[in-house]
């Protein structure tokens, strides 16, 4: 028995291991396999089900049902309501993201040290681990045959404007360019952790519990000794058996930026730092409309990026192919007018800016125990947000788009090249935009001061023995780059330190 899926109501399931890891995304699965490689017996617990490529949906409805947390209904509440996108299955968001591997920039470590008193010394160790991960999971540039016209056009546009731009490096083996990264790679080319580290964990004797949301960490005299929870069936939400997993050496929490803080709170931890320092990269698209078909559904979902504006003013640019069934609901308009617009779908290229926002929010428990994110971008963030969109529009026009579709309330549906000033003067009100929060940080941040942080620079929770954080919730600032590579490196580094200290 190395995998326990949903267990119907009945006798309590009890297990024991050296370490229990809560959450199987980039942080959790990496921690679990690292501990197992070091000879430890590990139980990995995931709230969602374990889906293999043959189980993956094709439609966005199926994706929201089978892969997104709470049918995609997690919303950041603030001045505007923006959705928070996270995977809720074994492998976490690595199943539904683009597997982008970007080395943690050096300035990030310096900033952690300056603002939180820790992390400055992590750079060399993390970079070395990132090199390992690059080899293990085969980070490779999007191959020419899998780029598709949208990605190629973005590269050409960036070259015309003299903007730094590159084809992405992603954890993919032989991309076929099916344009279905968001729905999970049915061709099994993406090296998401449900098809890599989690199976390896089982081979090494580890146990995986799926459909098993954790309720709380069991603490005995300030020592973490295990976790309790209850199996819950996907979709129907039928409640199953309760379980208790005893941890002889430690519990690692990697339940995501929105859930890790809530697990700690439900476990009785009282630190005021829990749930604080939430940050993200809010993203929004500009659609270019071209005379020729773009067919953005062909080629890598995300194949091109620019980090040229990461430091100043603070945003990154990316391509993103949106499936018809997702775009249809996001395109401005209604009625026959909307249908006329959708007829141009094959001529659309969606390129996005993701803002390196400095605004800080928090994560709280909602009325049903669900995570609630309180988060609003301030004016400075909105200015860089808008500046990023303007640059995306310029790229489209440089590449020959006949129009761009900003999707901003108060701005015309379609703008021509000579109407760019309209976009430059678009409102700075967050409510005018339909943005998405896809890269999340904080909630259980590392730091020197227990009053303002949850864990130290080794991931150990302040004031509790045997309890560690191992996901993006420990990251105290945003990165300005895609975070998976950083999360995995931090998790592996801390897991090795835990093994060494045992």
């Amino acid at each position: 028995m190395t995998h326990l899926a949903f267990q119907p109501a009945g006798p309590k399931v009890e297990l024991e291991a050296d370490y229990v890891v809560v959450g199987s995304g980039a942080g959790g699965a990496t921690a679990a396999v690292t501990l197992a490689r070091g000879g430890a017996h590990v139980v990995l617990i995931e709230a969602g089900p374990w889906r293999d490529p043959e189980d993956y949906p094709s439609s966005m409805y199926g994706t929201m049902r089978d892969m997104f947390e709470d049918f995609g209904a997690t919303i950041a509440q603030g001045r505007a309501f923006w959705p928070v996108v996270q995977g809720a299955l074994v492998g976490g968001s690595t199943v539904i993201n683009s597997a982008i591997a970007v080395q943690t920039p050096a300035d990030v470590f310096a900033r952690w040290q300056a603002e939180h008193g820790v992390g400055g010394g992590l750079r060399d160790a993390m970079w070395a681990i990132q090199e390992e991960l690059t080899r293990e999971l085969n980070a490779e540039e999007v191959p020419p045959h899998a780029r598709g016209r949208s990605n190629d056009y973005a590269m050409a546009a960036s070259q015309k404007l003299g903007i730094e731009g590159h084809y992405m490096r992603r954890y993919v083996r032989g991309c076929e360019g099916n344009g279905q990264c968001l729905q999970g790679c049915k061709a099994n080319r993406k090296q998401s952790l449900n098809v890599t580290f989690v199976p390896e964990l089982r081979e090494r004797g580890g146990i995986v519990l799926s459909c098993a949301p954790v309720d709380r960490v069991v603490l005995e005299r300030e020592v973490a000794v295990g976790v309790t929870g209850m199996f819950v069936k996907p979709v129907t939400r039928e409640r199953g058996a309760e379980y208790f997993v005893r941890a002889k050496r430690g519990v690692l929490i990697a339940a995501s930026v929105t859930h890790s803080p809530l697990v700690l709170k439900r476990s009785g931890l009282r630190s005021r730092a829990i749930g604080q320092f939430f940050r993200s990269h809010p993203g929004a698209p500009i659609i270019g409309v071209y005379d020729e078909p773009i067919d953005m559904n062909r080629g890598a979902t995300q194949g091109w990026a620019s980090l040229g504006y990461r430091e100043k003013p603070g945003f990154k640019l990316e391509t993103l192919s949106l499936p018809l069934d997702m775009l249809a609901g996001r395109l401005a308009g209604g009625g026959a007018q909307l249908m006329e617009r959708l007829a141009d779908y094959r001529h659309f290229a969606v390129w996005v800016q993701a803002c390196r926002a400095e605004s800080v929010g928090k994560v709280e428990a909602g009325p049903f125990g669900n995570p609630v994110v309180k988060y609003t971008l301030d004016r400075a963030d909105m200015e860089r947000f808008r500046e990023g969109l303007v640059l995306v529009a310029r790229m489209h026009f440089a590449q020959g788009a006949r129009a761009v579709l900003p999707g901003i309330h108060g701005v015309p549906y379609s703008l021509s090249r000579d109407q760019l000033s309209t976009l430059e003067n678009a409102p700075l009100e967050p409510r005018a935009y339909v943005a998405v929060l896809s890269h999340l940080f904080g909630g259980c941040v590392m730091g020197r001061d227990p009053k303002t942080s949850v864990c130290d620079e080794r991931g150990k929770v302040h004031g509790v023995s045997g309890l560690y954080i191992a996901d993006a919730s420990a990251i105290p600032t945003n990165l300005g780059v895609n975070p998976q590579h950083t999360i995995m490196a931090l998790s592996r580094l801390w897991s090795r330190q835990i093994l060494a200290a045992a």
Partner: protein
């Protein structure tokens, strides 16, 4: 309730000469499935969105009647204008109706064929049980 949501969705995505509308894509069955399978927060938001859409024609086409009794031309005008409402909460409420309509419409094989896209295979809805 499903009839109310269906009516709003069909107003947002009517059939045109070039493309089938959401009414042609099995929307009733889709909504029955969605009611079972979506989270309670999502479904509650969808119901609220349909209500908001239905009771707001007085703000857009200046007729004090619910949307579902209006003639087709007024419903179409209402669907166009309500998404640009100056009130954020109204825009957000109807956004969910439009999003759901898009999820139903955009996965339909005939729609996809018309737009040069391959048909989606069925979503298996399966997962490892052992």
């Amino acid at each position: 309730m499903i009839a109310l949501i269906r009516s709003a969705m069909c107003d947002f995505m009517p059939a045109t000469q070039r493309l089938p509308g959401v009414a042609d894509t099995g929307v009733t069955e889709f909504l029955e499935t969605m009611k079972r399978e979506s989270g309670r927060l999502y479904w509650l938001g969808l119901v609220m969105g349909a209500w908001v859409y239905s009771i707001t024609p007085f703000m857009t086409v200046f007729v004090p009647l619910p949307a579902f009794v209006l003639p087709a031309s007024l419903r179409d005008r209402h669907a166009q204008r309500i998404v640009g409402s100056r009130f954020y909460l109204i825009r957000q409420a109807v956004f969910l109706v439009r999003l759901s309509a898009g999820l139903c419409w955009g996965r339909d094989a005939r729609v996809r064929e018309q737009l040069g896209l391959g048909a989606y295979p069925l979503d298996p809805g399966t997962y490892r049980t052992t």
